[in-house]
Amino acid sequence: MTNDPTRPLLAVRDLGVSFTRKGAPDVRAVDGVSFDVSPGQTVGLVGESGSGKSVTSLAVMGLLPRRNVRVDGRVIFDDDDLLTLPRERMRDIRGRDMAMVFQDPMTSLNPVVPIGVQVTEVIERHQQLSGDAADKAAAELLDRVGIPDPTRRLREYPHQLSGGMRQRALIAMALACRPRLLIADEPTTALDVTIQAQILELLKELVHDSGAALIMITHDLGVVAGLCDTVHVMYSGRVVEGAQRRELFARPRHPYTGGLLASVPRLDAARGTPLHPIPGSPTDVLAWPSGCAFAPRCHHRVDACTDGPPPLENIGGRSLRCVNPLPTTEEVPA
């Protein structure tokens, strides 16, 4: 492992995922997605339901089902293309070098196995620890993610823990082997609002302490604002805009990004100020080959939008897939 800081830890190149079914046309869930994650960096993947952000993360982890799914492109991690790695090699990497925290802590833990076993199993698998040593490591992990009385909790079952506790336990499992890359797929969506902030804070702290890189997958721009260095916005399976967080928030160029930012309700806005939703629904999409998928909902649409697929262009450190972007001077409507 080299520590060249300029070399990314993870390089996703032209990633595509198609779901295939006999007698039905393929569904292209992810298409041409490319991004880099440097060691210790926090990258946000933002998009609404169905934008392909979760499928992207599952493809990186090699967790997509093998049947009826076709994955193309490259996912380079430590000089290896994860997509062509033998399954057993991939098993060695998962949980040790890269780990994942899932959306729903209620269903992501095995209900019939004690928490302790679910934590120690990953330690025993990837580190030369077993028995008491593994138990001790597990208790320390639970302590580190802020679960009080860890030795008692280790003997308990998931249904005896609150939602926040369960997500903490899942985070402990993910960080058990000090992975260099952590993927968090909407880790706070299923939690109470009051717990959400705690979990985000915890993730931020742990990731910072361990030096791990983080891919934060979310539909919530608020989460991204407080956490990520770089943000990629996805729409209908493709990245439409990617930039440094400050840059993106200050000057969104893609009308979809602009719409997302404008639709966040502001507490400091005057009473009675109407919300600014993006018109239409994510199902009003155009197939990418025939034009920009966002065109049917776009207020900035021009005729050229539906002439063909807009290319992803690189303009001054920002990637953008739009033929008629918002002007750089335009103020974000508040």
């Binding site: 990497i93 998962r94 040790r96 992501s108 209900p111 004690p114 698998r125 079952y157 249904h159 993910a174």
Partner: protein, 334 residues
């Protein structure tokens, strides 16, 4: 856990009282009363009076019921009107035989059913899956007595691989301390007797176990198909665990919950279901004895046997509930 078992055992009391009352009422409700049922329709009033005197049938019903209950509690069900031997003695002879047969059928059904169901699910949509689904449909659809005849004809009569009937070669010089012949042979060190009894068990056990086997295959398959798509299995995959750990700890432990329920229900049915199998194979067990008791109007036998079979059913259900609690911690707390 102990509290749970005790509570369930206490529930036996009302069940038994209700059942005994039903049985008692059923016997009194026979046309012309039990004495006529026993003697036939052309019995003379004198002989009826004599039988009623003999069995205490001329006393008030509550005296009769009280006596019946107190006798039943002491395990005294009177004498068989056909063999004129105590019902309990007949039970001691036939129950171990059927218990042995039912156990063999259950072991076959579980031992083949669970692995086959699991493999079918893992080969979903391929030939192994299709074969087992079709096979289990046949298993449920073919009447037990028909299957029993076919098995007997092909494997015993034609091929001569197995004996055609009975529980043991009558020429075999064997002792029977428990009445379960396979076990008896092992206990008395007579391995030949054990082997002979085992060979006598194979075909009847296959016939009797065919329906539970088919049901277990289907339930296991459906349950595994459900569980492999659960979030916690994906979590386990994300940890990079070995495939066998995932299968045993995360898939099977959850998938077997519904199977346990079905096994319990089927185990109870095996005792009453043994009538057909035991008749075809001239297997001297409960089923055959009860069938003869029915055609001979041997009410003392029926009363006693039905009560004991019902108790067995409840006990088996208790065992199922206990094992459910052992597998699923969520059941324990309630």
């Amino acid at each position: 856990m102990l509290k749970f078992v005790v509570r369930r055992l206490l529930m036996l009391v009302p069940i038994l009282i209700g059942l005994s009352a039903l049985l008692f009422a059923w016997l009194r409700a026979l046309p012309g009363g039990p004495a006529v049922a026993l003697l036939g329709e052309r019995a003379t009033p004198e002989s009826i009076a004599r039988v009623e005197e003999l069995y205490g049938l001329n006393e008030p019903w509550y005296v009769q019921y009280g006596r019946y209950l107190s006798n039943a509690v002491q395990f005294d069900f009177g004498n068989s009107t056909r063999t004129n031997r105590p019902v309990t003695e007949e039970m001691a002879r036939t129950f171990p035989a059927t218990f042995e047969l039912a156990l063999a059928a259950l072991i076959l059904a579980i031992g083949i059913g669970i692995p086959l169901g699991y493999l079918a699910a893992r080969h979903y949509g391929r030939w192994l899956d299709n074969m087992s689904v079709t096979g289990s449909l046949l298993g449920v659809a073919i009447p037990v007595f028909f299957l029993a005849y076919i098995l007997k004809y092909v494997f015993a009569v034609r091929l001569g691989w197995f004996p055609t009937q009975g529980r043991q070669d009558p020429r075999m010089d064997a002792e029977h301390p428990t009445g379960m012949y396979v076990l008896d042979g092992l206990l008395t060190g007579n391995l030949d007797a054990s082997w002979d009894a085992l060979m006598h068990l194979v075909l009847p056990a296959l016939a009797l176990g065919s329906i539970p086997l088919a049901i277990i295959v289907r339930i296991t398959r459906a349950s595994v198909l459900d569980v492999v798509h659960e979030d916690y299995v994906r979590t386990a995959e994300a940890k990079g665990l070995w495939e066998r750990t995932i299968t045993r700890r995360h898939v099977l432990r959850n998938a077997l919950l519904p199977v346990v329920t079905v096994v319990g229900l089927q185990a109870g049915l095996l005792f009453s279901g043994a009538i057909l199998t035991e008749t075809v194979f001239a297997f001297d067990g409960v089923g055959r004895f009860v069938a003869e008791a029915i055609s001979n109007r041997d009410y003392a036998v029926l009363q006693g046997f039905i009560l004991v079979i019902a108790v067995l059913y409840v006990v088996i259900n208790l065992l199922v509930d206990v094992s459910y609690g052992l597998i699923d911690p969520r059941v324990r707390v309630r």
